[in-house]
């Protein structure tokens, strides 16, 4: 593969996102001799600090420094990247809330192929990458062939590739600002206003040792009572997956996942939760995971230590009764 490989590095409050080193591993799966160029945008001293850290792992770092980029807005950064990135390059971007905002349009502007949410690369041959993706909420996987002869924008699922910690590169930092903002910055068609922090709920699930977490399998709001009963018996707090919050049955502060809270309990009971990668992305610290789901193919069983294939509406009251019996 003669094409140059780029990785768009995300950082926040001066801390480089875990996905930066995962993209080095991903690029290495395409070509073990590959040298990867990191592309980083931001502002001032914070950006310089981030570039220094990243330079120890990437063979080259391209930085775009402007005070308008103190908060990165996809609509503002996309034209800059279109100016500096060579057509026919391979551009890796994390598949998260920023990557999903920026990457599909970038592939159009670069006239490159778009491969979204890759979880693995199997081979590269004749200008085509054979990659693995998931469909239907992770219930099935697919092999896809991506023609990279005219370049490609590829988003990488966070956590799918192991981070490359070797720090073997030690690259130069190249200032690409002038080229990126050639012709001046316009105020833009989409203007960042502010971040509204999540409301603090009555329970802080990020501090809980034991979580009883409920998903779509609960079927009805009235059934939530049995989940609270089990949590009470176990001495646990109640958390949930996204559909429960969408239905407004529980508050957002109880949602586990990449768009909710990152939790680190010792024990996690997943009740009627299918186990999307966005949900599992919120589960850290290697807890003991018990999954109860009536669908034996639910992806949650891949992430769990122990599984029960049953309808939670039948199983949960039985379990609660037994625990209450024991405790007297």
């Amino acid at each position: 593969m003669a094409q140059q490989v780029f990785a768009y590095v995300i950082h926040k409050n001066g801390v480089v996102d875990d996905t930066a080193l995962e993209m080095i591993t991903a690029a290495g799966r395409l070509n073990s001799d590959v040298s990867v160029t990191a592309v980083i945008a931001g502002s001032g001293a914070e950006l310089d600090g981030v570039c220094k850290v990243v330079a120890s792992s990437f063979s080259e770092v391209w930085k775009i420094d402007n005070e308008a980029l103190a908060y990165i807005n996809a609509e503002m950064i996309r034209p800059m990247l279109t100016r500096i990135l060579p057509k026919e390059g391979i551009v890796l971007i994390p598949h998260e809330h920023f990557g999903m905002d920026m990457a599909p349009g970038l592939s159009v502007k670069l006239d490159a192929a778009y491969l979204p949410d890759a979880v693995d690369f199997e081979s590269i041959e004749d200008g085509k990458i054979k990659a693995v993706r998931e469909e239907y909420g992770g219930q099935v996987s697919t092999h896809v062939l991506c023609d990279i002869s005219q370049g490609a924008v590829i988003t990488i699922r966070p956590g799918s590739f192991k981070a490359d910690e070797s720090k073997s590169a030690g690259g130069n930092i190249v200032d690409k600002t002038a080229e990126a903002i050639e012709g001046g910055l316009s105020e833009g068609v989409r203007r960042f206003l502010e971040i509204v922090e999540a409301e603090v709920g009555d329970v802080d699930i990020t501090k809980s040792d034991i979580l009883v977490s409920v998903g779509r399998g609960i079927e009805d709001e009235d059934n939530l009572e049995m989940v609270f009963d089990l949590a009470k018996a176990m001495g646990a707090d109640v958390s949930c997956s996204r559909p429960i919050v969408d239905a407004k049955w529980l508050e957002k502060s109880r949602q586990v996942g990449t768009s909710g809270k990152i939790v680190k309990p010792k024990v996690y009971m997943a009740l009627g939760i299918s186990g999307s990668f966005q949900h599992l992305g919120g589960l850290k610290g290697a807890p003991f995971v018990v999954a109860v789901n009536k669908n034996p193919k639910a992806p949650i069983f891949q992430a769990a230590d122990v599984g029960v294939v049953d309808d939670i509406l039948d199983f949960v009251p039985e379990l609660t009764d037994r625990i209450n019996e024991i405790k007297g």
Binding site: N73, A74, E75, H97, F98, M100, D101, A103, P104, G105, V108, A113, Y114, L115, P116, D117, V132, R133, E135, G137, Q139, V140, T142, H143, V144, V189, R190, R191, L193, E194, I195, V196, A198, D209, I210, M234, G235, V245, S253, S259, G260, V267, M269, F288, V290, A291, N295, K297, F301, Q302, D305, V306, G307, V308, D314, E318, L319, R322, I323, I326
Partner: protein
Amino acid sequence: MEILVCVKRVPDTSENEIEVNRDGTDIERDDLVYSVNEWDNYAVEEAIQIRDKVGGNVTVVTVGEEEDEEIVRREMAMGADNGVLLSDDAFNGSDGKGIAAVLKAEVEKGKYDLILTGAQSDKGAGQVGGMLAAMLDWPYASLVNLLEVIDDKKIIVGREIAGGNQEMNEIDLPCVLSIQTGINEPRYVGIRGIRKVASLEIPVHTSGDLGIAADAVGESGARIKRLDYFVPDPGEGAEILEGSTDEIVDKLVELLKAKGGIK
């Protein structure tokens, strides 16, 4: 406000277990229950609420085949004013860019202020809205979970970002937004609503109507091709507890006690 909502008919994953067929060429399609993609349904509801507040029309569009017409009809029963089916053999095998190119041609036939899509659909790509915006040179915002119309030139959108936080943006019209679930509570569509739209004629636009060159879309234009479906090696996976419910409960209680799961 003239609003276009792009929708897709998908297997309903809350009603079906998705399995790979015998030779791995597709999912098992027998006995599948189909519905409108969940995210798209929130997008249609949002469009209807905006129209009811500021006036205008909601048009629902899908790229597909004859059987896909049913979801256009369903979203019209929900309250959309118009529906269009974009259908042509030349569209078959399109990748995300092909679908976006077909939609772009339809957009350019009308005069829209706002285009909504679901944030993702069954294939989990989340790509068509962002591509369509880039092709039109319109601004885009993804994962929108709050939308407030300021005037006929601009709106405010909240985007869902990490940690349950929300990124607020002001964005100029016309624009494209991808809608996240939870932004509203989609209304229920009853049998009576469905009956009311049952005999409406849904116009079909072909590649000729849209002025699309056949080689720009469909399989020949696609740079992403699916080779097969498979179920990944289960690897470690969970130890599945077997036995009667009583026996399973016993085993689970012992395990929970050992792991500190019962205080």
